[in-house]
Amino acid sequence: MIQNTKLNHQFLQGIFHKPKYKDLKRKLADFELSLVLPIGKYIQGISLTFELIASHLIFINKQKTIFVTSNGVVGKIKQIEKNNLRKSYFICKNVIPATRCIMGILNQGKYKQYLDLTQDQRFKQKQKQKQKKNLNKNKNKKNKKKKKKNKKKNQDQNSTDFDFRCKILNIETRNFDLIQKEIKVYSTKFPLYYKDCPWLDFIQEKKKQCQMEKEREKEKEKLMKKHKSKNKNKNNNGTTTRLQHRSKLTKERKNEFMKTFGKLKKDPQNFEFSQQFLMCEQFYGLKIKISKFVQHFISDYSDSEKCGKFVRDFIKEISKQYRQHPIYQEIITMSKFESKIWIYNFFENYILNIIYDKAILLLKKSWKTDKEHDFIQTRNRLRFVELRHLEQDPTSIDPEVISNVMKILPQINLVRSPLEKLQMISACSHEINKMLCKKGVKGADDFIPTFIYILIYSNIPNLILNVEYIKKFRSSEKLSMTENGFYFTTIASGIKYLENIKETSLTIDPLTFHHKINQKNHNHNNYDIKQRIKMEIQNYENSKEKGETNINKNNIDTKKKRRNTVQVKQRKTNKGTSSEINKKNYNIKMKNENDKNPNPNPNNNNNNSQKKITKSQSFILEQFESDEQFDLFGKLDVKNEKKKNIFDNSPINKRKNENIWDSKNSDLNNKQKSQDQVPFQNFNGSINTTMDFGKFNEIHPNSLKLDQINEMFNMYPNLLYSYFVKLKDLEN
């Protein structure tokens, strides 16, 4: 009838002997599991073992603090630590007897509600329910005989039998597999009384044992005090007496403590060591505080916005208490500032290692949209970006280092505490710095673009989640003052940059930008970053060589000339105010086309055509220089060069450009939609969204009409230059 439990058996046997409960005996005969508890007083200090609860368990509330067994026992769960091993005992403190606890609550939903209330409220509720029932019954049975049945009703209330279905949770597997079972709950006609409880003797015996143990401990402590009274340092600090008792260490304990501390200092991130460290007996009080906090956070806490501050405040408090601890002050020899940081980091590490999963759940809850998904989408779209677009010199970059960093960064997800994550980030950025430093010490001007480049091309899962996690659970002071913090802000700023990217934030032709960002069928994952960077470097060097040849011939910066020529024409045509941004993209577009080609050979057709053009360019430039008109404009332009130089990103220029783009951009876009690259359509009959210089070379310049030329210059000011190049070539 009753399995596994001696206590229950004893109790029932005790009860069945009494004539009062004959009823109960009959009922329990066909009931598989049952525990009947006395009414009236609460039973304290009976611990039900894990197995017992597991076999009988019906329900555990989310916080895992209260449980209900199939036989109607409601108890509180407490975790006990004995001999440095955590055992989950379930203590039935304040057991609410079966006859009372399920009364009036048949539905599971109601049952849950009931469990969440505090005890006092429970009884008040029951009383209210009883009153209501009485009223209802009275109304229904008004017509029937009143006097006789009133007595019976009272009896019925005590002995309402009912079935109820519920989910049985299996603790052993910890997966909480759900099994549905029908359970019958009986209650007695007469209330059970505490006096009748047959295990009273048993409890008394236990109490005596406990008292004996306590006395022994006291004796021991007295002995210890006598030994150590000579060496006593009178600390009148606010720390509890218990801590003070424990602060008097025996030599063995001290050694143990030092050992674990030494281990920890070598490897502060090791979770096992830190657990051992906290298990040292002297920190018993702190340990309990922490475990209480952790339990509370994991089970109850649900404020997703303030969770960061909540945790940080607790860690601060704990580390403060720890520092005031006498043992700590005895043993640890560090400067105050150092130790403060060390301890804070230690507790942060320890606590967040445990909380991590819950913390991330909370973070995800607070998101209204899926930021991670949005970011990945924008990042994938941006995968046409090259180092040039970020004004970063590709030759200063080593593809091997970059690919290494990209392999390391995703491992952020393997580490749990924010400090470890930060250290990972800063280790990566140290690598990048080493690489950049080979080309001379460089500052944030070069560092941030390379980091953004890496962010675009690396697949870091849960990047944004990680960043927000660090932001929330590491105090902003520490983030804003330390080196780790610096690298973290670069990451955060990089993400911000990518999220708010516009055509003006890259040195790229706005048209190609819009085209590329709207392209859908990228091969996002199938590319080799090393090859990609090598390609960029090669392209860069190629263009540099050309630039050098030009310089050798003319002794004047070629870039300036290009601009000059364009500006000359601009003034003639009084159009092309928008050319400033486009000028530089002359080369960039060529590079893009090169990149698109899957074959890694640098000497592909496009490059050849480029070389042809550049050769002729230099020639033409000479021609232009001999021209008086050009000289006049040229000189004028040289004076204004600095102000109009697009390589300088002065705010004034930027504003000009932006203003231009505000008005012009819309026009351009309209044109793009309506006419779809007028020049090419007219010349070739084919529509190309990006410029194709190869095809342009095939066009005979003399076949162009003036209107066409004007239109062309509006759309692509850079074409102007190559157009003139071609004309000159033909003439020669």
Partner: protein, 205 residues
């Protein structure tokens, strides 16, 4: 004394990093410099008998990264605004930076306006008066510095540390005298005057 955060601001290629580098090199040997991280620097500066550790953050000067800089300003006690004396525009752009600082930081902050490349006096385009006027207007101190020769750099950082110390001490005691205000930049001057006006209006009503 705690760490104090300092931000380096200024247009791109103005020489922020080289100032940084020079400040490092005065203490470290050339060989070691390569191993040091060139964006972040912590250095102790002695002011009289007290020590301050300045943690100096470099920012990207490129125009396109301007929007990111507020992230770097956070909790900073001082800002070094760098311009190039051979480039008028770099000084002009400082006003934009200042306006942005005003918006983002919103409280008082120690300001230094530093003209770099003072060794190129022949190519000078920015008159000292202009720079000093700007400095006065904002309540900053003006320095001419050369990262190449190391001229004035130590002095500049020493002065900065001094001011930061003063600033921090006075900020701890909320009762600021008007005298102290002269020494430091009132970044949110307009806001305060507006508030005063509003208060006056309220009184009338």
């Amino acid at each position: 004394m705690k760490k104090q955060k300092v931000v380096l601001l200024g247009k791109g290629r103005v020489g922020k990093t080289s100032i940084f580098k020079r400040f490092l090199q005065n203490e470290f040997h050339d060989n070691e410099v390569t191993t040091i991280q060139p964006q972040y620097l912590e250095k102790q500066v002695k002011v009289n008998t007290e020590k301050v550790t300045l943690s100096i953050w470099d920012t990207a000067g490129q125009e396109r990264f301007r929007g990111l800089n507020p992230l770097f300003y956070r909790n900073s006690k001082a800002a070094i605004m760098v311009y190039d004396i051979t480039d008028q525009e770099s000084l002009d752009s400082l006003e934009d930076w200042l306006a942005e600082l005003k918006n983002q930081v919103g409280h008082k902050i120690v300001l230094m306006i530093v003209g770099n490349k003072s060794d190129l006096k022949k190519k000078r385009q920015v008159s000292i008066e202009d720079a000093e006027n700007l400095a006065k207007k904002v309540g900053a101190q003006h320095f001419c510095v050369s990262a190449k020769t190391g001229e004035n750099i130590d002095e500049m950082f020493h002065e900065l540390a001094k001011r930061v110390m003063k600033f921090v001490k006075e900020n701890k005691t909320p009762l600021n005298t008007t005298k102290s205000r002269r020494n430091f930049a009132l970044v949110n001057e307009d806001v305060e005057t507006k508030k005063k006006k509003k208060k006056n209006n309220d009184g009338c009503c």
